[in-house]
Amino acid sequence: MSPPTSVARLLTRAFAVLALLIVVSGLSGAGTALVQHQTVEQLTDHVLPLQLQNAELRAAMSDGQRGLRGYLLSGDPTLLGNYYSAHADYKTSADDLRGMATGGEGVAIEAQLDRAEAWWAVAERQRQVLPRSDEAARFVDQGSALFLAFESANTGLDTALGDRADRLRDRSETLGVGTTAALVALTLAAALVAALTAVRTTRRITGPLGRLVTVLDDLGRGRYGRRAPTGDGPVEIRAVAAAVNNLAEQADRVRREEEEIARLRGEIRVLNTRVRQHLAVDSAMQEAATGLVATLGAEHAVLRIAAAADAPKMVTRHSAAGAAGSLDALACADIAWLGEHDLWLTADATDVNAVDVGDPVPDPEAAGWRAAGAGPVLTVAVTNGDTRLGALTLLRAAGRPGWSPVEIRLAESVAGDLGRGLHHARLFEQEQRLVAQLKELDSVKTDFMSTVSHELRTPLTSIAGYVEMLRDEDAGEVTPAQGRMLDVIKRNTTRLRALIEDLLILSRIEAGTFRTRRQTVDLAAIAGTVAAEAAEAAAKTGVTLTVDLAGPLPVDADKEQLDRVVEGLLSNAVKFAPGGTVTVTGRADAGEVVLCVADTGMGVPDAEQGQLFSRFFRATNAIHLAIPGTGLGLAIVRTIVENHDGTIEMTSAENDGTTVTVRLPLAGDRVAA
């Protein structure tokens, strides 16, 4: 693996190479163009004009020679004019040529001009001789030789210049081709460098970045264990990978903390539920103390509940197994110092002034902390919403970490639930005491009723017995008047006896001591039997008894008690409807057995119907007509019906009659007995 480079350096390097290539390419192009330009310039400004001027010189010379030679041969002065004109041209041309000469060609030009001057000198002498003379002929030869020398020099210069022009042209051409080739090469090189840079960038930046993105995706999908490779790619990507890992670690830590908090919350919720389930105060307190020590990792927990008007001071404590220190001192410490705050917190119990939240603690409390070997101490108020009931103190050993905000919140929640629980438990205990008192009172009352009724029987037995003996004339003859009086005593004794019997039955039913033997019985059969028994009594008072029972009507009941119900209702109906009609109907209806006893008797006045089932109640019209009764019959009937989960209702109209309807639950699908 190469040593880490940075993206910036990587890109800078790549772009530097590219820029360098472009600069080199430009410079070389410009250099070549300059050289080429100079070459062309040299060619056009110097070599070619020089060559031209040389040719002109030669032409002037040739014109001069031709003119002179013609004159000498012909003596034609016109031709001599040509000679002069050519001489003038020569001078101009020679001056121009000399002016254009630079460096190398100066020598050659001077040599040529020297030869030309030599010829011109000979030519001047020729001109002065007589044309077509021998002298002239001689000069011709001499002149010819000189002219040939000039011509040779002229040609040499021309050739030299031509060669130089050719060289310059070649150079220019070579430069052009070279420049194009170089430019093509440089462009190719730049393209190659760009391509290489792209590939390298992909390899060294995109690759690691892609892997980083994959890691981020994985983290996002919940694979929290994933980490980015930090030894991969350029420095910047390594830094980003490190940052990503750092964030992932942090997120991991936060998540673990949250999981821990959620777990704690769950445990505290369970604990609160357990605490609430206790109706007894001390067991709820014990549950809370034990649970808090285990859940919040405390060494000790002390729950102090202050004495209240109807409850004593209570202290519950719990220490983790193997925890050092004693809670005795703290358990005895008074909690009145708590004041109005709801929370006291310290990270160091050895320094009483270092209470982080709440007032400084008094000595007994601090001594209690020290005796328990505590470091961080947390005390929260136990309240039922508005009243402070006590305090919950959690202690950790010295040197252990302090209480975190979450732990404080959880402790407060347990204290809150405990407070409400305590409140409820106290209410419940009060209620229990009340119920017990009421039960005792009721039992006393029942006992009293039973005893009184029982004790009344003995004297009643004597009275009834002796009256009967007197009436039977066991003690001698009884006069008619005495007989009537004895009958009155006997009738009232019977009534008193019925009253006592009913009272006794009622008290037994209410006390629950009356034996009930629940079994499935047929109410239709019971009502039929009772009606048959009542038929004789009904006939005596002129009552028409109609029975319509759609049996069987199975009910789960005590047969004897049901007998009493039907008997009570029937005897009432017969009693209050002399000369009328009593109808007994029974049917099953929607899961209920409905028994109706209807009479066409005197009825009950509207205003009194509500009291009909009360004990000792007797309708005013019945009293006026002196119809015997104890006023307990319907009370007994109602009590029995209600004991059998049934209902009883009465509709009555004065002088029209009364209908009593009893509804009892239909006994499953069991067959009636």
Binding site: S462, M469, D474
Partner: protein
Amino acid sequence: MTVVLVADDDADIRDLVAFKLEQAGLEVITAEDGQQAVEQARAHRPTLAVLDVSMPALSGIDVCRMLRADPATAGMLIIMLTARVQEQDVEGGFSAGADDYVTKPFSPRELISRIQALLTRTRA
């Protein structure tokens, strides 16, 4: 002569029963409580005993049990007088060995006829 023991802590009822029995030609001995009843029964070996259930010292049921347990008095006829109508009392009486029971308040006439019926049935 047939001897009948009447045991009841209430003197009026004792007299009433005794009067009716004597009127019917039977010899009557009385006892005021359970202890006395047992002593009288052992001393006089009556043919029949009328025992009130609720008596001081020993209850009628206890007396009945003791008489039945003693071979000398085991064959005695016993009628219980009970002020209670609860079945457990009646059952208690029968399980202790009573031949019959009459609940208070009772009709003297009915009591005598029950006693005579029991005597007649046994003699027969």
